[in-house]
């Protein structure tokens, strides 16, 4: 039997890696992937908890997270395509109009 702690630690580590990617990658798409990675880490924690406590609610929540991720991907990638079209670059550091 695998202790639940292992799963939680794994999810923490993945989450941290997601953060690092989120901060350190310059490619919009990769940053987006980092977000997905963090979502996955959280999902792992959810499933671990729900299985440990024998309650399926956590898994239901995972389903919701996945749905949201799908919607998010649809819109986000649309935005990415637009930015790539307009700014001819996927590097977020060139997309710097968001200031006074």
């Amino acid at each position: 039997m695998v202790p639940t702690n292992y799963y939680l630690m794994l999810s923490a580590v993945l989450f941290g890696l997601g953060i690092v990617a989120f901060v350190f990658k310059r490619d919009i798409i990769t940053i987006f992937m980092a977000i997905e990675l963090m979502l996955n880490a959280v999902n792992l924690a959810f499933v671990a908890f729900s299985q440990a406590l024998g309650k399926p609610d956590g898994e239901v929540f995972v389903l919701f997270v996945i749905i949201v991720a799908a919607a998010e991907a649809a819109v986000g990638l649309g935005i990415i395509i637009l930015t790539a079209r307009n700014r001819r670059s996927l590097n977020v550091e060139n997309v710097n109009l968001l200031k006074l």
């Binding site: 989120f22 901060v23 968001l98 006074l100």
Partner: protein, 650 residues
Amino acid sequence: MSTTPILEYLWIIPLLPLLGSAINGLLGWKWPNKLVHSVALGATGLSFACALEAVREFFANGQQPFRKEFFDWIVAGNFRAGFDLQLDQLTVVMLLVVTGVGFLIHIYSTGYMAHEEGYFRFFSYLNLFMFFMLILVLAANYVLLFVGWEGVGLCSYLLIGFYFLRKSASNAGNKAFIVNRIGDFGFMLGMFLLFRTFHTLDFNALFAQAGPLPSEAMGQFGTLTIACILLFVGATGKSAQLPLYVWLPDAMEGPTPVSALIHAATMVTAGVYMVARSHVLFMHAPTAMYIVAIVGCATAFFAATIGLVQSDIKKVLAYSTVSQLGYMFLGCGVGAFSAGIFHLMTHAFFKALLFLAAGSVIHAMGGEQDMWKMGGLASKIKVTFWCMLFATIAIAGFFPFAAFFSKDAILFAAFNAEQSGKVLYAVGLLAAILTSFYMFRLIWLTFFGKSRFDEHHVHVHESPLNMTIPLMILAFLSLTGGWFALPALWGGKNYFADFLSPILGSGEAAAGEAAHSLEINLSIVAVVAALAGLIVAWRMYRKDVKQGPSTGLHKLLYNKYYVDELYNAAVVSPLMWLSRNVLWKLVDVGVIDGTVNGIAHGTSAVGDTVRQTQSGNTRSYAVWVLVGALVVFVIIFWPVLKPTLFGAVR
């Protein structure tokens, strides 16, 4: 279930006008007049019918005062103000007067307002007024009564300012509202005091507690006395008594039906009703009673004197109204509550009639209100003339018409009052003479003599039926209305007093059987007084007179004792000065604007400094997000983290 469907659902009576008002007010703006006034009339008529049915059931129940708590409205601690309606003898009288006269005046208005702008607005307001007035008379506790009280105030404001394009009209509206505020303030203070003393504002509970209390001696200002005086201040505001009567004459800016309904028949009598309703308290406070009597008497005389010389037909009626209200208060003041209420009823009839007739006259004259520009109308508008004449006779107090009995009862009670009764009686009698004088002056100036307007421009015409029929009905009522209360010696029986006695107690207890001869004499005196007034007026205005230059006393009276100017100087202008120089220039500009602008500048300054962090580089933003996440995490998980971080150190 019960044999008293309407009583069980008493709220239907006020609700109907409210519905009518809502319908007309919300949807009526593009409806044809027919639809609008059919809605309004339907609402009022139905509610009148319901009132009749309710009264029938009331009698069927053997005149058991009916009371029902429909729902809690305000509940806070031990304070409860419910939507409780009650129906007892007093309410019955008021209910019938309000709905009945109101219905007639609605009918009249359909003719009078036919060519006015904002027809739907007018009827919406009128229905709304009916609603509040019914709430007022049906209320079973002071708070609900106060709702109706304020509501009718609002409606009167709206209706006085009906021609809001006229500066004078809107000013009059404001004036009425503001002056009433003073009275209402007193009223509220009175309510607070009562609640503080008795921990309830419900009529039954309150009076049940107040009843057994010892009545406070004359000249002693106990709690009850003060409470009663405060309530009476409210009454002076609403019922236009000295010193707060000033708004009523200006209120004549409103359409004439409004003057008839609100400022003669119903609303202004609310004060009297309230005093009568809380007579238990007043009975325990002779001082307050005395004050009421004095104020009433003084008002009666004072207003009558002003009424002598007014040239505007409606103004005359307005002052007459004030003085008649004074009579009612006099009645209440000397303990003859039933007499006061009785006079209220009769007055509702003939004063409404007077106003409506005056309105008809004005209608006929094409909007002219100055009596000096009238004359000789008797032959041209017969119906109006006769109705007006009846009303005048009634108000003047000739035997055997309405005011004769009511006014007579009041004067008789005053005469028997233990506190300086004779004086009150004398002044009242004087006022009676004046009343009959200015009324007949009005008649002569308006209807007799040569016409003082050029026939070519103004072509006089009798009003349509829907205006004249209410006149006739009211005329009939004001002729016969007095016979409800035939004093014993007129071979009759005072049904009215007996009817009200379970509620008000028999105020005429003072008059024993021995007093009959006295009463006869007094009534003869009264009739003589009325005759005197008539004769004087006839002598003065028989021949067509010109409006002479007003001088001396006449000038003083004509300018209403300069009371308005006095108030202006004493109250209004200091207030204006205060508002302009202190509240505006100091408080508003200095404090409030200063604070607001200061905050704004501070915000922008902070923003200027903080925005440096906003580099526009998404990765930096990502880092900021991270910082925020860190902080939130630490805050949330502090209990778990504390041992983790510092437990390890030790």
